[in-house]
């Protein structure tokens, strides 16, 4: 009888779905049913073990687990990867899919097919994976299983009779699902005796062991103690430990073709481990490099500055520490006239940005000033060069710009048919280009638009939720950079340009946004002893103006013996507040004001 590690008895699969459709909960059931954890050890969404994952109740990082399951008297090794549903972390899904032969596509029995369901299904198809449709949460009173099956059939061409019905909550359907995994997903094709080819699909940093490299072996075998080479970096290392997650790290002696596991090689810095790299043996007869992945694309940038300039070094250390565990986030030192020394940081999306910032404030106890997030742009200059803009400050003078390009994303909305009109209108307002409508069922539709990422990222999700009374969902994917009539709009406070307040926007929107920004700033900046002019300008042309009037009287009359200490304390408190403000000229600008430029003025328009 073959050993269970032989390819034939291995199944590798990811669980993919729209956010909150129950991937991690289903993983719990599979872990329990296969005995990887006992019911006693189990807790809800066991694989979501990062503190932030538990707090937010979402998966942020994909997790791999090896399960053993006996089916018809034969033990199988099932390598499961639980993936995040949020669009910011979509690249985790693609990486996971590349290590698998199959995917469980979960759909919530009440919500039905949603935007990320479609995106994930396509991703699985592109990877030639065997897809098992799963309708989850059938225990819900409002479950509408038949309609959901129909939606899956019409939108994704997945046959209703192939679907497994289950409840990750009650455990109903777990056995059928395990059977389908074994019966339907093909075993990996790989040769344990061929030259070593292992795909690096993830890594994380362990304080004691250094970088932990996650691998899927495509061909060959790795033994403990052997030498391996990372083909991209050329780095040769001894394998100190190897093993699988079950779900904790469980060392073993060897990993063979088809298996998923981890390596520990005494790598001190996680930046030495390139996701998508191929591991092979050193020497001339090593395996060929695998295709690898495109590195994750940072979609959003913002400036992060220490509220107190003294804390620059502390912020740098804190950012460095975070980037060790999360290479998808990057940072570069930058300076701003208004904010001093800080960093331009790139994120996968707004949720990612929020998470990083929260971790910074929490783990490093730093008080931060954040500038408004922006997407990245490309500028073809008159001199034939191309600039990649992550900070509006870096936009050259209009005269030097040949072409200004912005990122366009293909955006899919899933919504009930009655909302198509209003959402279409919203997309047109945001300069969207209509692509198509598909009906998932008589009452639900998939609407596809090309939209500027900048328009999608800020408040599209909120607007969609409000238009669709919470039921609409959206997903987007970068299509590329396309020319647009863009300008840099500057904000002047007291006649001085505040670099950290500049934004890039469409020329036609500039006036509306300029008005909204100065209006917002007027409420954020306190009155001073003198009048403060707030202006929005393009080049030298003022397009909007507001004035903060001067304080006319501020004297609380009494000041006798007992009042002196009390007053001094009051002033000291005001001083503390001021310390956290940034001053431009003589105007004190509170931290929150640097986000004022996010005000789009959309509400005024309609």
């Amino acid at each position: 009888m073959p050993k269970p590690s032989d390819c034939h008895y291995i199944r590798n699969f990811s669980i993919v779905a729209h956010i909150d459709h129950g991937k991690s909960t289903l993983a719990d059931r599979l872990l329990e049913r296969t005995g990887a954890v006992t019911a006693r050890e189990s807790r809800e969404q066991l694989l979501d073990d990062m503190q932030l994952e538990r707090e937010r109740g979402i998966t942020i990082k994909a997790r791999a687990v090896a399960l053993r399951h006996v089916h018809n008297g034969q033990e199988y090794e099932l390598n499961l990867i639980d993936t995040p549903g949020h669009v910011d972390f979509h690249y985790e899904v693609s990486r996971s899919l590349a290590c698998c032969e199959g995917a469980l596509l979960l759909v919530d029995a009440f919500q039905g097919v949603e935007a990320q369901t479609v995106a994930n299904a396509y991703a699985a198809l592109e990877n030639n994976l065997e897809m098992i449709p799963v309708v989850n949460k059938i225990d819900l009173t409002h479950a509408r299983v038949d309609e959901v099956l129909e939606e899956m059939e019409s939108s994704l061409a997945l046959a209703a009779e192939d679907a497994i019905l289950c409840s990750a909550k009650t455990g109903v359907g777990t056995d059928e699902l395990l059977e389908a995994i074994i019966e339907r997903i093909p075993p990996p094709a790989g040769d344990a005796n061929a030259p070593l080819q292992a795909m690096v699909f993830d890594s994380h940093y362990d304080e004691f062991r250094g970088a932990i490299t996650y691998v899927r072996l495509m061909n060959g075998t790795i033994h403990k103690g052997q030498k391996v080479q990372f083909l991209k970096t050329g780095m040769t290392m001894d394998v100190l430990e190897l093993g699988q997650f079950s779900p904790g790290r469980t060392p073993c002696q060897e990993l063979r073709a088809g298996q998923v596991g981890y390596l520990i090689c005494n790598i001190k810095s996680i930046s030495d481990v390139h996701i998508g790299d191929t591991i092979s043996t050193p020497g001339p007869d090593h395996g060929t490099p695998l295709e690898g992945y495109k590195p994750p694309k940072r979609m959003v940038y913002c400036g992060l500055y220490p509220a107190d300039g003294e804390n620059f070094e502390e912020l740098r250390d804190a950012l460095h520490k975070l980037s060790i565990n999360d290479p998808s986030f990057e940072f570069q030192p930058e300076t701003s006239d208004a904010l001093g020394f800080g960093f331009r940081c790139g994120f996968l999306g707004l949720l990612h940005m929020e998470i990083i910032q929260q971790r910074l404030e929490r783990e490093a106890d730093l008080d931060l000033v954040q500038t408004a997030p922006n997407v990245t742009y490309e500028i073809a200059t008159r001199h034939g060069g191309t600039l990649y803009i992550t900070n509006p400050q870096d936009v050259p003078d209009t005269g030097d710009i040949e072409e200004f390009r912005q990122p366009i994303v293909q955006t899919s909305f899933v919504l009930t048919s009655d909302c198509i009109g209003p959402v279409m209108q919203l997309c047109h307002e945001r300069r969207g280009v209509y692509l198509r409508t598909e009906y998932l069922s008589p009452t639900r539709a998939l609407l596809v638009f090309d939209l500027p990422l900048a328009e999608v990222i800020y408040d599209m999700h909120d607007r969609l939720k409000s238009i669709t009374r919470g039921y609409g969902t959206m997903d987007y994917e970068l299509k590329g950079y396309f020319p647009a009539d863009l300008v840099r709009m500057d904000i002047l406070v007291g006649g001085k340009r505040v670099d950290a307040l500049s934004i890039i926007c469409h020329r036609e929107d500039a006036e509306r946004r300029g008005r909204a920004v100065v209006k917002k700033l007027r409420t954020e900046i306190d009155r001073h002893m003198f009048e403060v002019a707030l202006q929005a300008a393009i080049g030298g042309r003022i397009i909007a103006r507001e004035t903060i009037s001067a304080i006319r009287k501020n004297v609380t009359a009494k000041c006798y013996g007992g009042d002196i200490s009390r007053k001094r304390k009051l002033w000291a408190k005001q001083r503390e507040g001021k310390k956290r403000m940034k001053s431009v000229g003589n105007v004190d600008i509170p931290q929150k004001a640097f986000l004022a430029v996010l005000d789009t003025g959309q509400d005024q328009k309609s």
């Binding site: 002893m529 501020n554 004297v555 007992g562 200490s565």
Partner: protein, 397 residues
């Protein structure tokens, strides 16, 4: 002063007397916390309608004063409140005798008492005269019946007139306190108030814009929009009007909110603005001795309890660094209309004004909030109007 030289001190009680090496303060403040009723805008340390506490108060005060070993001659003595005039004849007599023992008044000394107009009966006037009171500060606030009602005061304009005339019979100086910018007040109404004041020819006037303080009923009524705060521009005009009318009436503007006929400034308060040191006793009273500022517990009951138990009534103390101290002196000094003498200021504090003010000074000069005037630096009219704003800026550097 070392502990062993003060046998009268109960364990745990600290001395509030200055170290013998330093000059003792020449001023003392006594807080008398009793009021018939708490006015809606008041956040002072007062107990309303608790006359029953007076004996215990006097005992505690005697205990507190006993800790200031020996007796210290003072140039100014100030009884403030609350309403010191609330005390009946007997307790008032006791109060004076307790305090005068600890703080005998120099021969040309100033003895001020805050008086509520209705409290000043001929008998009380006689007692105050006998006690050597030289200055009466009348809590007039307004002559307008409507305003007085809003402010929840228990007197009328006529009570004020009667009290002023009576006070004149024995006190060297009579001062009136006035509040402006009361809810819904108009400029015209304020103008009439000023005229009524001048008609009485007081020696001194203190006038304050009404402030809504956290914890008062005015504060919550303001937040519930039951009271209507006068807008800033009107407040500004009212203040400027007061300066104009009072000056025209022969009262010199000598501090942001104080006006006096020649020779009638309040010497006690001038001490505060010069950064001088002073003794203090009573609930919530703040003192400044040997470089330290300290404040008694604000609750009258706790203050009594602590003194009874032989504990210190002080809840807060701070000794300022030279730099902070200098800044405080600067800020207080600039409240006086004559401003500060730069040379004198540097001699006293070790710092120059420009050192302390840094960039703010340039800005203030540019905005014409301060001016240099000979060797002095003083606030302009506009500076006076914005002074509180300015102080919070000074602390930035």
């Amino acid at each position: 002063m070392p502990q062993d030289e003060m046998p009268q001190l109960t364990a745990g009680m600290e001395s509030t007397a200055p170290p013998s090496s330093q000059l003792a303060p020449r001023a003392a403040y006594i807080h008398v916390p009793f009021c018939a009723h708490r006015c809606g805008y008041c956040n002072f340390t007062v107990v309303a309608n608790r006359q029953d506490l007076i004996p215990a108060y006097l005992d505690a005060l005697a205990t507190e004063l006993a800790c200031i070993s020996g007796s210290h001659e003072v140039d100014t003595l100030f009884f403030g409140g609350g309403t010191p005039s609330q005390l009946a004849l007997k307790p008032m007599e006791q109060l004076f005798s307790i305090v005068r023992e600890a703080f005998p008044l120099a021969s040309d000394g100033e003895l001020s008492v805050e008086v509520n107009p209705v409290d000043l009966t001929p008998e009380k006037a006689k007692l105050l005269a006998t006690a050597g009171v030289t200055r009466i500060s009348l809590g007039a606030q307004s002559f307008n019946a409507g305003v007085l009602r809003t402010l929840e005061r228990d007197h009328t304009g006529d009570d004020i007139r009667r009290a002023v005339n009576l006070a004149r019979t024995f006190a060297r100086s009579v001062s009136l306190d006035l509040i402006f910018a009361t809810p819904d007040q108009t400029i015209g109404a304020w103008e009439r108030e000023l005229a009524a004041v001048l008609e009485l020819e007081p020696d001194h006037v203190s006038t304050y814009g009404l402030t809504y303080e956290r914890g008062t009923s005015f504060w919550s009524r303001l937040n519930k929009s039951e009271l209507n705060e006068i807008n800033e521009e009107t407040q500004r005009q009212m203040y400027l009007l007061a300066i104009e009318r009072l000056a025209a009436g022969g009262l010199e503007h000598y501090e942001i909110s104080n006006f006096a006929r020649s020779g009638h400034r309040c010497r006690h308060n001038e001490g505060y603005w010069s950064g001088d040191e002073y003794f203090a006793a009573g609930p919530g009273a703040a003192r400044h001795i040997a470089g330290e500022r300290s404040t008694n517990h604000r609750s009258t009951l706790t203050w009594i309890k602590r003194l009874r138990a032989g504990q210190s009534p002080i809840t807060e103390r701070e000794t300022l660094l030279a730099h902070d101290k200098a800044r405080e002196t600067l800020v207080l000094g600039l409240r006086r209309i004559e401003g500060i003498d730069q040379r004198e200021f540097q001699r006293k504090t070790g710092f120059t004004a420009s050192e302390l003010l840094g960039n703010s000074l340039n800005q203030w000069l540019r905005l014409r909030l301060v001016v240099f005037d000979g060797g002095r630096i003083r606030l302009t009219r506009n500076g006076m109007l914005l002074s509180d704003q300015m102080w919070s800026e000074v602390l930035r550097i």
